[in-house]
């Protein structure tokens, strides 16, 4: 393809080909500190292309392609090319990853132990991960937690942190020195702005961590804390996994082990400050 970008995020190598220079230039800039795929051989290929030749110039729109595609994925305007690339990379993971059990969760680490936060879109996974990173936690990822079925440990996947709408100013205030991507307005999910993970997150991305706590946060409610039974945690995590079924017995073994060994809590929170306090309190009580 015309323009190519290659990157390794945690244990996963990507190759992004694009009909346009702009998305690749953006990726090169924001992922500048990341390594290239091991041996120059990426795990997944992503293609950003014009579905019809004239769509390269005339109201240019980016169609998502790659090793794995969803037939109904709608094209995005070229101004949202970075978002298109990020979505397509996530899609390869969601549909194609078979080495690790994928949980749709953000992960932060402290003292070699990982905190996993999962929940529906809008629960605040990415925001909480970014705010905890601002308080000295290591950011392992805001989208997918990679559980190794062999060891039970969580591998980091610290791609750009995708912040939406109201979370953008909150994280900007908490991380005044951090790098951010451009504001992408008017996406299907509202305004999006990407946070570049800090140097420690990138430098230590090859270090896995032992999962120590699973949280199911919920934003917009009066503060509450609820313990969860293992069966509920198990079912919720099967729903939070994109490849649990595809992994078959390995997936079942990895997930039951996680649920058996790691405590889980549901927390409701009205604002970021309350959430952070609650997380720190729970963590201190482990």
């Amino acid at each position: 393809m015309r323009h190519v970008f290659q990157v390794r995020i945690g244990p996963v190598g990507f190759r992004v080909g694009s009909d346009w220079r702009a998305p690749v230039a953006r990726l090169e800039d924001l992922y500048a500190a990341y390594p290239r795929p091991e041996d120059g051989i990426p795990d997944f290929t992503v293609r950003l292309f014009a579905a019809r030749p004239w769509r390269r110039w005339l109201r240019p729109s980016v169609t998502l392609g790659g090793d794995f595609v969803l037939p109904e994925a709608a094209p995005l305007p070229l101004s949202q090319g970075l978002l298109a690339a990020e979505m397509a990379m996530n899609l390869q993971m969601a549909l194609g990853q078979r080495r690790y059990l994928l949980l749709h969760a953000s992960t932060v680490e402290r003292d070699g132990r990982a905190l996993l936060m999962t929940g529906l879109s809008g629960a605040g996974k990415s925001t909480l991960a970014a705010l905890l990173a601002a308080r000295g936690w290591r950011l392992m990822g805001d989208e997918f937690a990679l559980v190794d079925p062999e060891t039970g440990r969580v591998h980091a996947f610290p791609r750009l942190v995708s912040l939406k709408n109201g979370a953008i100013p909150i994280v900007r205030a908490a991380l005044p020195d951090a790098r951010f991507g451009p504001l992408i307005a008017g996406t299907p999910k509202g305004d999006i702005r990407h946070l570049v993970p800090d140097a420690a997150a990138i430098a230590r991305m090859d270090q896995p961590a032992e999962p120590a706590l699973i949280l199911f946060p919920r934003f917009g409610f009066a503060p509450a804390r609820r313990p969860l039974g293992p069966s509920e945690v198990f079912v919720r995590l099967t729903q939070a996994s994109t490849n649990y079924v595809a992994l078959g017995e390995r997936g079942f073994d990895a997930l039951t082990r996680l649920v058996r060994e790691v405590p889980a809590r549901a927390i409701d929170y009205p604002d970021a400050e309350a959430a952070i306090a609650e997380v720190e309190a729970l963590w201190a009580g482990l």
């Binding site: 393809m1 015309r2 323009h3 190519v4 970008f5 290659q6 190598g13 190759r15 080909g17 290239r36 795929p37 091991e38 041996d39 120059g40 051989i41 990426p42 795990d43 290929t45 293609r47 392609g65 790659g66 090793d67 078979r98 080495r99 595809a246 992994l247 078959g248 390995r250």
Partner: protein, 373 residues
């Protein structure tokens, strides 16, 4: 000296000669002693694609090219089995190890789906013949090793079709074609029921009563396919070896537009290598499918080095065109040669139905927004 190989002939070379491929493209202290058996064109084609040093630019590692092609042609699992134990970069080895795990899961699910169909249809009392990938896996054939398996394809006697349909619907399968035109078309003209999908397991079943559409000019002997099928210990059946090859060739050259043809041709290669060609020509003629089988054998020989009888080898004039269509894939996994693809798409319909009907059908599909890929 020809042009370097820049299409999926590179994938064919790796499948045909794993040692030769890895010899050429893996860092090995013994390379100097090996005599790579890839042709000059194949070697140069992949070398040309070697990284320039920084690993950037549109100049991918030959392994990246190979893996992307294999994925797009649904041959990654097959490639993983073929290249097992060969020296290769660690990143490639890991991707292929993942593919082996993934394929093992697919195989288990496919065999379970066959068992589910057997249970659902036990009361019907008709023979149930597994076809394609599930049959290869169930019968433990080489063609099933590493093969990706999607839908479950079965063949039943036409007279039992209504009972089979009713039994499947009662056991949780549901229609997936919401379009009345498609549904009516299947029932009137096709060699299979409209596809059904199981509501809990989300797996599709294609119930065939013969191996070519009723509108095709060729009419294979469906009765003989079932009568000569072979029972497995489970009670499910598979086609007799020669009929398996005839069906695979019919599927590839007398019916479809060669989409996924690299994999189907690999099936044929494995079947020919495992069963040989004895009695195949006679059986193929009986079904009216000798031209398709002969072409399949010639192309399998050309792409994968399949051993075939000497007198089957003389090439037909159009073979190179088929080769180009089969290998029309680039290092990004993209389909290439759109005009050739379009021509084979039209050809598939030409074979499938008479001209007036074809015109009507294509017009209807076009208005519904269908385009060949």
């Amino acid at each position: 000296m020809g042009r370097p190989v820049t299409d999926a002939m590179l994938l064919a070379a790796a499948l045909r000669d794993p040692a030769g491929f890895t010899e050429t493209f893996s860092p090995s202290p013994f390379r100097a002693f090996g005599a790579p058996s890839l042709s000059h064109r194949e070697r140069e084609g992949a070398r040309e694609a070697k990284p320039s040093g920084k690993g950037e630019g549109d100049n991918p590692n030959p392994w990246t090219t190979l893996l992307a092609m294999a994925r797009a042609e649904q041959l990654l699992g097959t490639l993983a089995i073929r290249l097992d134990g060969q020296p290769m970069p660690a990143a490639a080895a890991r991707i292929l190890a993942d593919a082996r795990i993934s394929i093992a899961g697919q195989r288990r699910a496919a065999l379970w789906e066959a068992e589910a169909a057997r249970r659902a249809l036990a009361g019907v009392g008709c023979p149930i013949v597994l076809l394609k990938g599930t049959a290869f896996a169930a019968a433990g054939l080489r063609a099933g090793e590493g093969r990706s398996i999607g839908d479950l394809d079965i063949l039943v006697p036409r007279g039992a079709l209504d009972a089979v349909e009713a039994a499947l619907l009662a056991a949780g399968w549901e229609w997936v074609k919401p379009d009345p035109y498609d549904d009516a078309y299947y029932r009137r003209w096709m060699h299979e029921l409209p596809p059904l999908i199981h509501r809990d397991r989300d797996r599709m079943i294609d119930v065939h009563h013969t191996i070519l559409p009723l509108t095709a000019r060729i009419t294979p002997d469906a009765g003989a396919l079932i009568a000569d099928s072979v029972a497995l210990p489970s009670g499910l059946r598979v086609l007799a070896p020669n009929d398996m090859i005839v069906h695979a060739a019919a599927h590839l050259f007398a019916d479809g537009d060669l989409a996924g043809g690299m994999r189907n041709l690999w099936d044929i290669h494995c079947l020919l290598e495992e069963f040989g060609a004895a009695g195949l020509a006679g059986r193929a003629r009986h079904h009216g499918l000798w031209p398709a089988v002969a072409r399949a054998a010639r192309l399998a020989h050309a792409l994968y080095g399949t051993a075939i009888p000497d007198d089957w080898r003389p090439r037909a004039a159009l073979d190179p065109l088929y080769r180009r269509r089969l290998a029309a894939r680039d290092g990004w996994g993209r389909p290439t040669r759109p005009l050739l693809r379009q021509a084979f798409y039209l050809r598939s319909h030409w074979l499938r139905m008479p001209p007036a009907m074809l015109a009507r059908h294509l017009w209807t599909k076009w208005r519904k927004g269908h385009r060949p890929t």
